[in-house]
């Protein structure tokens, strides 16, 4: 438990053995018992394990007797890295966790930092609405990836092409607004990086109808399809009691009948001002989870439409907190050579005002300070409850950031879902959890 000394490090450099957990013990035990049991190592490189997840399955014929999950292949130390970057830079790291719904990670992180800094009530209205708009688009995008890749894993490539076609519209919108399709770092403590471009909303209204039609196409093809139903109805049951014990949240717990949705229960970013339903079903199986996700996308589209109306009615306004001690000084804009610092701002700090230059330099290199203490903020991520625990020592960098990642937690249910089922259902069960390994391993 003590810290490292040089001898330990030498030992590591001299001989580094990276082998997988208790794999050898399992194999030896199986050989000793001379049973007709096969231990299959599924992953970490397997297309249907959603990234680099490794499953160790103990099989008796076609039946799965024991499921073990091995993680860590995508561990990147994001939480530790955040401790050596400013509070604002943390957003660019948080976005890289669950890369399929990256905007949501930023949202959770920024809301926690804002709570810690005590500026939650001072976020401008326009920024709040833009945040909700972006978060709901991310939810649609994440659910489309989940449904599409599940369809692909069951052998229906068309399902993936439909889902990814519609997701593409969301990514185009993200690119238009943030400059990047994924890993946007668009949410910052205090607001968002910049306002929406002038034509972004009208562009999205143009594709809105076709996106909803694409979702209908998907549903018509899947939800009543006898093949799909045969693979999903009654498979991977996890009732509400098991969900509570295992801390399962998100579409999985809503498919078990509990309307646990923090957008309604603990509203943040003004979710109390939107009209939407919490989708539930009581089948507690894989089919139910897809049904919940599919319905949830429609509700998200409803929220997006309300956001667009609000933004259009609201007109221009600030999208970053007014406080100059926190607000990022620079504005971004699209120039002839791409996105960068706005010309007006560069001119001001380089030619007009030395004070502005000092202010810009201090805030960008040093950052702002957050009063000591800790805060926890939970949001309804596409995958479930995404909680961020931030601790400040009063400095310009987080003292500690911990993320309670819904995929990480929900993946614990793999054994409960798979044990006793057939090996062909393992992939179905895994896909219904919708884990993204970037988020699981962080």
């Amino acid at each position: 438990m003590t810290s490292l000394d040089q001898a330990d490090l030498d030992q590591v450099t001299a001989e580094f053995v990276a082998q997988g957990g208790d794999w050898e013990e399992i194999a030896e035990e199986a050989a000793r018992l001379k049973e007709e049991r096969v231990v299959v190592n599924m992953g970490p490189q397997h297309p249907s394990t959603h990234g680099v997840l490794r499953l160790v399955l103990e099989l008796d014929g076609e039946t799965v007797r024991e499921t073990r999950v091995a993680l860590g292949y995508l561990h990147t130390g994001i939480e530790k890295t955040m401790e050596y970057r400013t509070w604002v830079q943390g957003s660019a790291l948080a976005t890289r966790m669950d890369y399929v719904a990256s905007i949501m990670n930023e949202a959770g992180y920024c809301l926690a930092v804002e709570k810690l800094a005590g500026i939650t009530d001072r976020i401008p209205e326009r920024a709040q609405v833009i945040r909700v708009l972006m978060m709901e688009m991310a939810r649609v995008s994440s659910h489309l990836v989940c449904l599409g890749s599940a369809g692909n894993e069951l052998g229906g490539t068309t399902l993936m092409t439909i889902a990814f076609r519609e997701r593409e519209q969301v990514l185009r919108f993200f690119e238009m607004v943030t400059g990047q399709r994924m890993n946007n770092a668009y949410f910052r403590p205090g607001g968002v990086a910049q306002d929406l471009p002038k034509d972004a909303l009208s562009w999205f209204k143009g594709v809105y109808g076709s996106m909803v039609r694409g979702m209908d196409d998907f549903d018509n093809m899947v939800m009543v399809n006898p093949l799909w139903r045969a693979r999903t109805v009654g498979i991977g049951q996890l009732n509400l009691a098991a969900c509570m014990a295992l801390g399962i949240t998100g579409p999985m717990v809503r498919a078990a009948g509990l309307p646990l949705d923090l957008r309604k229960d603990r509203p943040y970013s003004g979710y109390e001002n939107y009209d939407f339903e919490v989708c539930t079903t009581d089948t507690a199986d894989v089919y139910g989870r897809y049904l919940v996700r599919s319905n949830e996308m429609r509700e998200s589209m409803k929220i997006i439409a309300q956001c667009i109306d609000k933004l259009e009615a609201m007109g221009e306004g600030p999208v970053m907190i007014e406080d100059p001690a926190i607000a990022w000084p620079a504005k971004l804009e699209i120039g002839p050579d791409g996105q960068g610092q706005s010309h007006g701002h560069v001119k001001e700090i380089m030619a007009t005002s030395m004070e502005s230059l000092i202010h810009h330099f201090k805030l960008v290199t040093e950052g702002f300070r957050v009063p000591p203490g800790q805060a926890f903020h939970a949001i309804e991520h596409a995958k479930g409850v995404f909680g961020v625990h931030v601790v400040s020592d009063g400095g310009t960098r987080p003292y500690r950031v911990h993320v309670r990642e819904p995929s990480y937690n929900n993946l614990q249910s793999m054994a409960a879902l798979c044990d006793g089922g057939t090996i062909s259902d393992v992939v179905v069960c895994l896909a219904s959890i919708d884990p993204v390994m970037g988020g699981v391993d962080r």
Binding site: L71, G72, H75, Q374, V385, T396, R400, R404
Partner: protein
């Protein structure tokens, strides 16, 4: 709280309900000297004489506000029943969040009351987060739990338990909340906190033969030496900084 209500609470069987909320000042977890984290550079600017205390908020006076008073009262009443009122070291309400510092040997008892008491019902555990304060003598390792009540309006309570570096043991909550399984493994992996009673406390994110616990503050970051015109870049944890 008026004098009357305080008196009536104190008159209730079991004694003074305000006992665990006794005011304690802010806890000093670290003392920093000098500027920019730089030492031994022959600094003559005068900033080298700076001393800054890193303090986390102290315990809060009653009333805590909102649902916090009723929740603490319900828990204290349960603990009085088993003679463990002193299990609550201090109560902090900060940024509208309720934090209970719990004596580590009583963690499981407190968590069970929080889960099962009909007035509390924190059924959903949101995992555990470790925090390492190397300067907090005898309380270096903190384990921070967040519990959510599904029954009572999705309210969230925070439990904080400390352990010294020399004896990094904290009771496991897997028996009460099976979801704690992976979360405790992660905190063991990253901080070296040993959760006694965990069924299979092994590393989860790092390889099994990894040495050390990387999210502790004393874990060296290493870094790659990048040479630039004869100078070299130190790893991020020993660079000058503003914190």
């Amino acid at each position: 709280m008026t004098a009357e209500t305080a008196a009536s609470q104190a008159a209730q069987p079991g004694g003074d309900l305000t006992a665990p909320g006794q005011e304690r000042g802010p806890e000093v977890v670290e003392v920093r000297r000098g500027a920019f984290g730089a030492h031994g550079s022959g600094d003559t600017s005068g900033f080298g004489g700076l001393t800054r205390l890193v303090q986390i908020p102290g315990s809060s006076p009653r009333p805590y506000g909102g649902w916090h008073d009723a929740a603490v009262d319900a828990l204290v009443e349960d603990l009085q029943g088993v003679g463990l009122v002193q299990a609550i070291e201090k109560v902090i309400v900060d940024r509208d969040e309720l934090t209970l510092f719990i004596r580590r040997q009583d963690l499981a008892t407190v968590a069970e009351f929080l889960r099962d008491d009909q007035d509390l019902r924190f059924e959903l555990s949101l995992g555990v987060s470790g925090v390492h304060y190397p300067g907090d003598q005898g309380r270096e390792l903190h384990a921070v739990y967040h519990l959510m009540s599904v029954t009572h309006g999705r309210r969230i309570i925070r439990l904080e338990v400390t352990a010294p570096d020399q004896d990094p043991h904290i009771p496991s909550l897997v028996g009460l909340y099976p979801t704690q399984d992976w979360h405790e493994r992660e905190t063991y992996d990253m901080f070296g906190i040993v959760f006694d009673g965990h069924p299979d406390l092994t590393r989860i994110l790092l390889p099994t033969d990894w040495i050390g616990h990387p999210q502790r503050k004393d874990y060296p970051l290493g870094g790659v030496q990048v040479q630039f015109k004869g100078a070299s870049t130190p790893p991020p944890d020993v660079r000058r900084n503003y914190s």
